[in-house]
Symmetry: C2
Subunit: 359 residues, 2 copies
């Protein structure tokens, strides 16, 4: 087991990474103590790992809330179901929510923890690669609104993240690849040697070689912990974690939530961000192809569906980072270095989108 710490003063917490962690109740015990736990999961992960998670809670589990699977259910209505479950379980202020599942479960359960009784503790037990490398760390919680993705939510840090890499064994290939997109993102925005390593190791990663996967998760968590420790509320540097996300959110919204996996949309979005960076002269022209080659080798889609450029741009502008402001994008200066900027001609973006989205 490896442990990475997110340093946030009295709200600091450990991320434990490794195999067999759900079989070790002593890992959750420091948080649970004698408090009541309520596990929140979904109907895909539940049948696989709910029994193990209950064991991991060492007799503290008082109730479970099993949600329908999928981004389409990441709504206020589902939050209502979790709150109802907490009330039915008579969960008190010192109860602890255990989020067992992927990014959607973590976002929902974390948000419910943020607002139940004005905030109770929660533990992330991510079971997808995407959640283990990215979404379970950093305290962003929330749900979608018809007006935009993650438009409603809270910053609410977990007390502990338990990333049991054994749970990745049951992950469908498409979901696994979607997680690799976020792994590549960390190399692109913050760590060129890690990007090189990913190029060298992509076959071992795809084969889910345990040591290689654990090393990748650890590096992503280290990078994310450093960024979150520096800029918890995304005043500045944390925004770089959104590389590919504004393009990607538009892909997701235009296709309808749930058609594209989040990581898939981020992959195609990162390729667009790299190409646009090169078009603006920020980035070496050879880099976009290198990014695309790695993502494609990981089985990820690199091309957004043919679309109407105006409609796509409108969707990009619905991103919550843009509302009432000028569209800002995370662009690449080189592999390992990114910037958040609104400093590009709007006409350039429109021309770029027309070219990229042509049928």
């Amino acid at each position: 087991m490896q442990t990475v710490t997110v340093e946030l003063g009295e709200r600091s917490y450990p991320i434990h990474i490794g195999g067999g962690l759900l079989r070790q109740p002593q890992l959750l015990a420091p948080v649970l103590g004698r408090r009541d736990a309520v596990i929140v999961t979904n109907d895909v992960v539940g049948p696989l790992y709910l029994a193990a998670a209950r064991e991991a809670c060492g007799g503290r589990c008082r109730a479970e809330v099993v949600l329908p699977d999928g981004e389409a259910h990441k709504t206020m209505a589902t939050i209502g179901r979790v709150l109802d479950g907490l009330v039915a379980a008579r969960a008190g202020r010192d109860a602890v929510i255990v989020a067992l599942g992927g990014g959607v479960v973590g976002d929902i359960a974390g948000f419910a923890a943020a607002i139940y009784q004005r905030g109770i503790d929660f533990i992330q037990v991510p079971t997808t690669l995407l959640a283990q490398v990215d979404s379970s760390v950093g305290g962003k919680t929330g749900v979608n609104h018809p007006g935009g993705k993650n438009l409603v939510g809270a910053f609410h840090q977990p007390r502990l993240v338990l990333a049991d890499t054994d749970t990745l064994a049951t992950l469908p290939p498409r979901e696994y690849a979607a997680g690799l997109a976020e792994v590549v993102k960390y190399g692109l925005i913050a760590d060129a040697p890690f990007f090189d390593w990913l190029e060298a190791q992509h076959e071992a990663l795809l084969a889910r070689d345990a040591a290689t996967v654990a090393a990748a998760i650890r590096r992503c968590c280290e990078l994310k912990a450093a960024i979150v420790g520096e800029d918890e509320r995304e005043a500045d540097r944390r925004a770089l974690l959104n590389l590919g996300h504004t393009f990607g959110h538009a892909i997701e919204v235009r296709a309808g939530y749930g058609e594209w996996l989040h990581g898939e949309a981020v992959a195609a979005g990162m390729v667009m961000a790299a190409r646009f960076s090169a078009r603006l002269g920020l980035l070496d022209r050879a880099v976009p192809a290198r990014v695309e080659t790695l993502l494609a080798a990981m089985g990820l889609p690199c091309v957004a569906p043919a679309d109407d450029a105006d409609g796509f741009l409108t969707a990009m502008n619905m991103d919550k980072k843009v509302l009432a402001g000028r569209l800002r994008l995370v662009l690449l200066d080189r592999i390992g270095a990114a910037r958040l900027t609104a400093d590009f001609p709007g006409g350039e973006l429109e021309a770029f989108l027309r070219e990229q989205l042509a049928a």
Copy 2:
């Protein structure tokens, strides 16, 4: 104009108290600057003060959300309406919500501000006495759940509180008296000389004498600011502000939300808390009658409706402070000194309720 400051480090904020404040846009300008404002109000307050509030925003008001009046609408569904309104107005991360109304509007608008885009700024413009002396200060926001009052919410401090005492002129007598109940509460829990002053000034207060009312609001805000500055998240001392509230919540729930005004239920609840304190030998036996006399003189109900003691106790136990724990009550040691305690025989409380609630 008088100003009281809530000291919370970088989240400190001023409470301005006085007449004619809505006619002074320079008071909101330090927060609004060139940002967009969205006013949230209800269909009773809106027709009276929305135009003035728009003026006070000095041209920054981009949209208004007008909610139905009343505690019955303090629900997640109403939060959804406010969020929809923010999206429709394309409110960005730097938008500011202006809560114009009583405690319900402030709780709803503040909670919407807490969760829209993971938290945006808001300003409280309380227009009821209860909101000016109590609920607009301190950052408690939230809504009710069928399982309990204020069961869902967030701690989210306003950037500014603007208590224009001119707005009290239009307050119906019953609402005004309900606010006086919270004023009396501050004397009971923290300031015996203030309680004496209220006894001496109760006629001037009831007549809404401007200087007397402003002095009472100021003292309540000073006391609340001190308590919140010490214990923002109610780990300890802040709980004393709930004097009468556990009894009162049960009265509200048993009668159906909206039948009793919150302040009315708190008045009857404080009388019950005082009587129970005396019964336990904590409080001088002469005090409950003194409390009742003052509240009655202010036009407040001092007696809970005849009720089934078991059902009432169940409702008390549904209070969110109790879920999964032992029932704790704020009890009085003397006028000006209270304590939160679970240290009383359960049988005593049951016997007390049977006696108090007998038809």
